[in-house]
Every structure is written in structure tokens, then in C-alpha cells.
């Protein structure tokens, strides 16, 4: 009976190995990493972390990433909520086509859009701002958010809406003070997915920024300088990128376990 728990345990062990490797490497000086193999750091050092926390180009990379990811999550969820409500409650002309068309935007390879995006955002003067990256990531995140939220909303019985109308609630008051709290697990899951895909995407984020809004992932490419790879620094920066994600997943863990199951998603 208990034997089956071996499967998730082995899987998690497999997941942790490369992460363990990255974390130990971040405590080694680059010389030691290149010199040969060792399971634990021989000359333990915090130099890499010290560099990251004292050099503004490094820590601003993290701040920039967090700003545009937050902005993207807020925009995506805000516009996806009413749209998902419309899809879950009403039939209207072209609804099915629209729903599938939204999904197709997730299928476009980012590589296809990188250059046109650059030209578009330069033309309207928002190149190298957090807004540019946040808007570009909307292309992938809004369809997914609409899809997930629609699934959750479908699980809420229509009687709830009708009762609220009978009680004289205007639509927006009902929507914000009754309906959204009812599906907050769904909002949590949708926000998690938006956060995740925006946090890890690099190609668009890198193409649409130069200095002011440069994401951490782009800053990391600096470790490959003329002086060769600074592996210790690269590992430390990589380790630190895991932390915000880990915090977010910790907060939404219960939503994922409970909430996902409703409706379509």
C-alpha cells in the first residue's frame, strides 16, 4: 500500500537534483567549479550573493522582473474576469469562434512576434518600459486566464446571479462583492498561471527592454563576459530567481489542490 508513495518520492528526488546542484554551485568560487567535481562546496563563499545584492544592475533586474510580472498579472486578471463571465453565462454572436481565436494566440511562437513587437512598441513610444513587457505577455496570459476563470465560473450556479438581481444589486456591485469572492480559488489559480508564464518568459522580455526595464533573466547573460563564464555568479542569480516563484506557489498551494477541479479546468 505505502509502496506507491515511492513514485512521488523518487520523482521529487529527480526534480531536486539539478536544483541542489545549482544551489551548491552558487556557494563555490568559479575556480572551484571549473577545477573539477565536488558534491559539497570546498571553499564556501558568499561572494556571488554579495555582488548581486550590492550591484544595482543586478538587484534592479529582480525588481524590474517583479514589476512587470505583477503588472501583467493585474491587467490579465482584470480584463479576463468580465470576459470569462460573459463566456460562462451568455450566448452571443460569435462566442465560440472568439473563444477559440483567443486560444490560438497562445500558439503563436514568441520568436515569430519578437521583431514586430519591437517595432510596434517602439512606434507608440513604450519601448524599454515595464508596461511594454507586461502588455506583450498579455498575449499568452489573457487567453489562459479567460479559459481557467470560465471553468470556475461555470461551476457557480446561476441562481446566485438571479438572487442578487432580485435583491436589487447592480451588476458591478454583485460582480465585485459577491461573485468574485465566490470564485477566489479560481482567481488564485489564474493569477498563479499568469505569474508563472510571465516570470519565466524571456525572449519577449529581452527584446522589448534595453536598460530601464531589463529583466533579471537578461541581466544574467552578462555573466558570460569577455573574462569567461562567471559560473558562481550565474548559479547564485539562478538560485535567487527560484525564490519568488516558490513564495507564490506556497500561497496558492491550497487553491491548486482544491480549486482546480471545478468545471472545465
Amino acid at each position: 500500500m505505502r509502496l506507491k508513495y515511492l513514485v512521488p518520492i523518487l520523482y521529487i528526488a529527480f526534480l531536486m537534483l539539478p536544483i541542489y546542484w545549482l544551489v551548491t554551485m552558487s556557494f563555490k568560487p568559479t575556480n572551484e567549479i571549473l577545477a573539477g567535481f565536488s558534491l559539497f562546496p570546498q571553499s564556501f563563499t558568499l561572494d556571488a550573493y554579495r555582488t548581486i545584492f550590492t550591484d544595482p544592475t543586478w538587484y534592479w533586474g529582480y525588481i524590474n522582473s517583479i514589476i512587470y510580472v505583477t503588472l501583467n498579472t493585474v491587467i490579465s486578471i482584470t480584463v479576463a474576469l468580465p470576459a470569462a463571465y460573459a463566456f460562462s453565462r451568455y450566448h452571443f454572436i460569435g462566442d465560440k469562434h472568439l473563444f477559440f481565436w483567443l486560444l490560438t494566440n497562445r500558439m503563436a511562437p514568441a520568436a515569430v512576434f519578437a521583431l514586430p513587437f519591437f517595432q510596434l512598441y517602439s512606434a507608440i513610444g513604450i519601448f524599454d518600459t515595464h508596461l511594454a513587457v507586461a502588455l506583450a505577455h498579455c498575449l499568452f496570459n489573457i487567453p489562459l486566464a479567460v479559459w481557467i476563470l470560465e471553468g470556475f465560473m461555470r461551476g457557480v450556479p446561476k441562481e446566485l446571479d438571479e438572487t442578487a438581481y432580485v435583491d436589487g444589486y447592480p451588476f458591478w456591485r454583485f460582480f465585485t462583492s459577491i461573485f468574485i469572492p465566490t470564485i477566489r480559488a479560481g482567481v488564485g489559480v489564474a493569477a498563479f498561471f499568469c505569474f508563472m508564464f510571465s516570470w519565466v518568459e524571456l525572449l519577449l522580455a529581452k527584446t522589448l527592454t534595453a536598460v530601464e526595464a531589463k529583466p533579471i533573466a537578461a541581466t544574467m547573460t552578462r555573466t558570460a563576459s569577455s573574462a569567461g563564464y562567471e559560473l558562481g555568479l550565474l548559479a547564485a542569480a539562478g538560485t535567487l530567481t527560484i525564490i519568488p516563484g516558490a513564495i507564490v506557489i506556497y500561497f496558492v498551494r491550497n487553491y491548486i489542490a482544491k480549486g482546480f477541479a471545478m468545471g472545465r479546468v
Partner: protein, 287 residues
């Protein structure tokens, strides 16, 4: 049931404007490039459909497309059953559930270039944990920078590491939503474990599996950053997937016309396959 109400369009309008702005304008630019030739300085000449013809006939495109389909097929064949199996074995309640979920979701939350860089160093023959173990402990000759097979194994392993959790999380969410009554009924009928899986768990997971398979298909078909950082498409061209080839043409050689034509063909293929998946997997819902 849903009511007919065309004013619902107003609720969809913000999404529509935002996505259309983001999708249609760049798309028009791509279409525009795909039928023109440029010699720099923004001087364009009408080229017609030559680029499409050129791409569709080129060996290089066929090879990249073939590798791409091979990669995606392998990914789906490995990750979907594996993800379901792991989800079935996970505990259903108690302290270990959130711990498992947090640990399993971790790889998905690492930026893609970090994943590539991390696996690159992890797999280096003499200094990486994986490379060292294979070469010096198990005595297997393994070097992903030299051997195409090793490079493929590494890329597949990396993607399994990175994304199986998505299938696990979604399948698990589907599993915990099954009411106990179903299992009790199955127990009374004396159903085997396999029958329970085949006739209760799998149908109940269908909706979440649809989104898992669609997401895995789309994302693995468009994969760029991780394999690029891991091997740069090498050794030779052995791991040059479609996106890598595309970026090489578009940004490396600045051949905008061919790159745009290739993008459109690429997009059309993704669209077609996704549409087939989508219709097949949701066809029962429509009845």
C-alpha cells in the same frame, strides 16, 4: 442554461481590444514582410509568394520541422502517462500534499534560460553532477556537446524535468474532484484497480487532461530558450528545433522575408494540430 444576450460583447471588449492590439498588428507586420524583399534602409520590393515556395521546398526547413515533431511527440508520449501515474500515486490528504505540490511546481517557476544554463552545467562531463556520475561512476561515455544522441537525451530529460509537473498538478486536481461515492460504488461492484482507473478516474480527468495536453503541445512545439541555452542547437544541427532555426534566420541573418514566411507556415501548422486536438478532445462536450 446560458441565455442569449449580445450585450455580453461589452464584457469581452477589453480582452478583445488588448489581444487584438497585441496579435493583429504584429501579425500584419509579419504577413507584410513575408511577401516582400528588403535591401535594408527600409526599402521594400514586392516579392509575391516566393518566400513561401522557397521555405516549403528547403531541406533545412523539412529537417527542422521533422526534429520538432519528433521532439513534441516524444514529450507528449513520456510526460502525459508519467504525469498521470505520479498523480495517481500522490497522497490525497494530510500534511504531505502541500509539500509535494510546492516541490513539484518548483521547476516550472524557474526562468527558462536559468533552466537551460542549469542543465548545461549539470550535464558537463567532468564538472557537472550528471555528467560526472555517468562518465566516472557508471562508466558511460556521455558528452552532449559532441554526441547528438546524448544531446537529445539531455534535452528530453530536461523537458521531462521541467514540465511533467504541469501534467501532475492538473491530473491531481482532476483526481481530487472525484466524489468518494464513485469509489464506494466501484468497491461494491468489485471493480479492479484498472477498471476504476479506466472507467472512473480517466473520464473524470478528461477536462483537465485536455488543457494539459494542449498546453504541453503548444509549449513544446514553440520551445526555444531552454534547448538554445543548453546546446545552442548543436552538436552540428542535431538539436536545432524549429524556433531556433527561425531565430537564426530572423535575427542572425536578418532575412526578414524568409523568416516571416517561415513564421506563418509554422503558426499555421501549430494552429492546425491544436485545432485537431481541441476538436477531438472536446467533441463529446458539444453533444
Amino acid at each position: 442554461m446560458k441565455t442569449q444576450n449580445n450585450r455580453a460583447w461589452f464584457l469581452v471588449l477589453p480582452v478583445l481590444i488588448l489581444v487584438a492590439f497585441n496579435a493583429l498588428i504584429p501579425m500584419m507586420t509579419v504577413v507584410n514582410y513575408s511577401v516582400q524583399e528588403t535591401f535594408g534602409d527600409n526599402v521594400f520590393f514586392w516579392q509575391g509568394l516566393d518566400w513561401f515556395q522557397q521555405i516549403l521546398q528547403s531541406e533545412r526547413f523539412h529537417a527542422a520541422l521533422g526534429r520538432q515533431f519528433f521532439f513534441t511527440a516524444l514529450i507528449l508520449i513520456i510526460e502525459v502517462p508519467l504525469g498521470i501515474a505520479i498523480a495517481l500515486c500522490m497522497p490525497r490528504q494530510g500534511f504531505w500534499v502541500p509539500v509535494c505540490l510546492v516541490l513539484m511546481a518548483l521547476p516550472m517557476l524557474i526562468p527558462w534560460n536559468v533552466v537551460g544554463a542549469m542543465w548545461n552545467i549539470f550535464a558537463l562531463p567532468d564538472i557537472g553532477l550528471l555528467g560526472y556520475t555517468l562518465n566516472h561512476v557508471l562508466g558511460i561515455d556521455y558528452d552532449m556537446t559532441q554526441d547528438p544522441v546524448a544531446a537529445w537525451v539531455t534535452i528530453i530529460t530536461m523537458d521531462v524535468w521541467h514540465w511533467t509537473s504541469l501534467v501532475v498538478l492538473l491530473s491531481y486536481a482532476g483526481l481530487v474532484s472525484i466524489p468518494d461515492a464513485y469509489y464506494q460504488a466501484a468497491k461494491i461492484d468489485g471493480a479492479s484497480n484498472w477498471a476504476v482507473f479506466r472507467f472512473i478516474q480517466l473520464p473524470k480527468m478528461k477536462n483537465v487532461l485536455t488543457i494539459a495536453i494542449l498546453l504541453r503541445f503548444m509549449d513544446s512545439f514553440n520551445i526555444y530558450t531552454e534547448p538554445f541555452v543548453l546546446t545552442g542547437g548543436g552538436p552540428g544541427n542535431s538539436t536545432t528545433l524549429l524556433s531556433i532555426d527561425l531565430v537564426k534566420i530572423a535575427l542572425g541573418q536578418f532575412d526578414l522575408g524568409p523568416a516571416a514566411a517561415m513564421s506563418l507556415i509554422y503558426f499555421a501548422i501549430t494552429l492546425l494540430v491544436s485545432w485537431v486536438f481541441y476538436t477531438v478532445m472536446t467533441k463529446d462536450d458539444l453533444n
